[in-house]
Amino acid sequence: MKKHKKLLLVSASPHLKTAQATSWIMFNVLIALLPSFVASCYFFGRRALFITLISVSFSLGFEYLSRLMMGKLPTVSDLSCVVTGVIIAFCLPVTVPVWLVAVANFFAIVIVKQCFGGIGLNIVNPAAAALSLLMVSFTASMTKFIAPLLGFAQIIPEDATVVTTALSQLKASGQTPQNLFNIFMGNTAGNIGETSSFLLLIGGVYLIVRRISNWRIPVSFIGTVAIISLVKSFDFTFMLTQLFSGTLFLAAFFMAVDPVTSPQSQSGKVVFGVICGVATCYIRFFGTYTEGAVFAVLIANLVTPVIDSLLPVKYKGVRTVEKKKLSDFLPKRRKAQ
């Protein structure tokens, strides 16, 4: 062994950390979003791929530049901005102009996330906030839906007609869609990545199984919407259309579960999900907008501190899995004998 010329590194213990860093979590979220991404490229053609990639580039660029300007260490490598970029793209119609994608990512990354201090310090979900901004300010661009193109190489035809989503049909005329299966699988008009509830469900379940997101929020969120819809209409088709159409699954499995902006305690998470569900239904049934899931997440994010103070995390105390008294050791019959 040579003599140490270099100075040794000193730090507090532990000197070993899990490989499951924030970037690992975010990478898994991206994996969970992958099926919907592939499907969206099939349903809406090349431009869906283009919009998603451009959205991710904007979010990466804004994250990098804003950290640089603030003189802070770069955090691009934690991939959280990539997730934000993908989710924003997924909630935009495929006809959206590129500048609007830039506006959304700027608002999400720079204003909502970095101005509050970056990852872990934002008070609302960046994607939900940016999408709400777009929906309020640029409603016309945000509702120009086209029918699915069905083909990876398809480009949007010049004469593409603007169609309505199943949800707005339901709202306008009370008419439930013919083919619920198509809507569940994603073959319907809507935003880029939100149409296929089936694939989003697979992604969401993947995250829950890998213990990356907590099941309480999506279950209570979607459950509340289901119950309220059923009570309102006493009609299963109506309820299922409410569930499978619109942004509900994307919001429930990928925005509401964001741990930074949801309550800490397990009971708080359930309450959070219920608030999301109630707000979604309120906006859908009584508001002017046809879709309310993203607004609902935003509202619930803002209520989170209140939930946290009313339902705080408790000291769990020590619990042993198995308890043995001395008497268990007394009868001396070893199994091997």
């Binding site: 590194l9 532990p14 899990t18 872990g120 800490q264 769990k316 042993t320 899995v321 308890k323 001395l326």
Partner: protein
């Protein structure tokens, strides 16, 4: 059946003690620096001549144990915290320990566990149950493995001795699944013994901590945990009637091809041990005295090894660096792994708000600073550092 506790982390097994390897002995260097253990007072003065095995510091209370010099020589310096001894190379032994009473003998011999608690006191408590901890729960450390493979006879002798000293006590030997090979050999030797039982416990960190092991195994109040090395030392003391002056230390880490185990005289400095290592493959970036989960990173290679140091690790991997520490993302993983049932994530939030009421409601004082939460944290937050400050704030 695998017994376990709630929480804890699986830090993985990153080093192996090759079967057939030996426990190497390191000769005492020119000077030995003995840190005076907490709660002990030096009984020698500068200029005094000491013999090998002579007591140089005694414990003020019954939980600690006295400390003996590993060599004969002259005391150069003796302060309340350190005793420096110049080795005269002659290794003149002091008189054998005379005491007949086992408790006095163990106390004079300074047998302790790796936390510095006296074995004599454990025996004096006359527990109804002894738990022998043959648990390896951290990466890189192979002390137990080495002892069970090289000193199995001493281990078995120690068990027999314990049975003789404490007549009514039962003994439970806890091993982890990856030590089953060694455990089966020992259980063959103790087959006939009615008072000894074997249990397999999980290898999750911090399974080897006495209070966790107790919690895993039994609800019995009157029980004492005895470490593998401690047991071997008890046997040695009864056999040789000489005090314990050496510590089994693993030299390992990702800068080495394999783990090496040494028997090191108390007071040897870390650099001497590292020089004795033979399987280095690269220069370490960090040297850790103690275990990877809660050892201290040292900057001074002359730092001495005492009876609480079970391993010296030479680390390189970038994973060990600070890089990537961000703000807590509230993921709740730390809450899931805390063996004490705490919510470290909420504690650090309350700490940042100076909220002492919440801190005490969250029972911050029960934190043992084990480091599980920090291990699992995806945002790389250094929780124990903050938790310690929070404890001080809560007091």
């Amino acid at each position: 059946m695998l017994l376990t506790f709630r929480g804890g982390v699986d830090a993985g097994n990153k080093s192996e003690f090759l079967s057939g390897s030996v426990i190497n002995t390191i000769g005492a260097g020119e000077t030995l620096v003995l840190p005076v253990p907490f709660g002990c007072t030096p009984v020698v003065e500068a200029g005094e001549r000491v013999l090998a095995g002579q007591v140089v510091a005694v414990s003020d209370n019954e939980y600690g144990a006295s400390l003996s010099s590993a060599v004969s020589g002259t005391v150069v310096k003796a302060t309340a915290s350190r005793i420096t001894i110049e080795n005269d190379g002659e290794n003149t032994l002091c008189d054998r320990l005379e005491a007949d009473d086992p408790i006095t003998l163990l106390r004079d011999a300074g047998v302790t566990d790796r936390f510095g608690f006296s074995a004599a006191q454990k025996v004096a408590n006359a527990p109804a149950l002894y738990i022998i901890s043959c648990v390896e729960d951290q990466p890189y450390m192979v002390n137990v493995q080495a002892l069970l493979s090289c000193r199995a006879d001493e281990f078995i002798g120690g068990i027999k001795l314990l049975e003789k000293i404490s007549e009514n006590a039962h003994i439970v030997i806890c091993t982890t699944p990856d030590l089953s090979e060694y455990a089966s050999k020992i259980s063959e030797a103790l087959m006939e013994d009615e008072r000894v039982q074997f249990l397999t416990v999980s290898g999750k960190y911090p399974q080897s901590w006495p209070h966790i092991l107790k919690r895993t195994v039994t609800t019995e109040e009157s029980c004492e945990v005895i470490g593998t090395e401690e047991l071997c030392n008890i046997y040695r003391v009864f056999k040789t009637r000489m005090p314990v002056t050496e510590k089994i230390v693993t030299l390992s880490g990702d800068c080495m091809r394999r783990a090496e185990v040494f028997s090191v005289p108390y007071g040897t400095c870390v650099s001497t041990l590292i020089k004795a290592g033979t399987s280095f493959k690269r220069e370490p970036l960090k040297v850790v005295k103690g275990s990877v989960m809660n050892g201290d990173a040292i900057y001074n290679m002359r730092s001495p090894i005492d009876r609480t140091v079970s391993s010296v690790l030479t680390l390189f991997d970038h994973q060990h660096r600070y890089a990537g520490e961000s703000h807590c993302i509230s993921c709740g993983r730390c809450d899931n792994v805390c063996p004490e049932g705490l919510s470290p994530g909420s504690i650090i939030k309350a700490y940042k708000l100076n909220d002492t009421a919440t801190l005490s409601r969250l029972s911050v004082s029960s934190c043992t600073l084990c480091g599980c939460c920090s291990f699992i944290c995806p945002a790389r937050v250094n929780l124990p550092l903050i938790l310690r400050s929070a404890q001080l704030m809560g007091e």
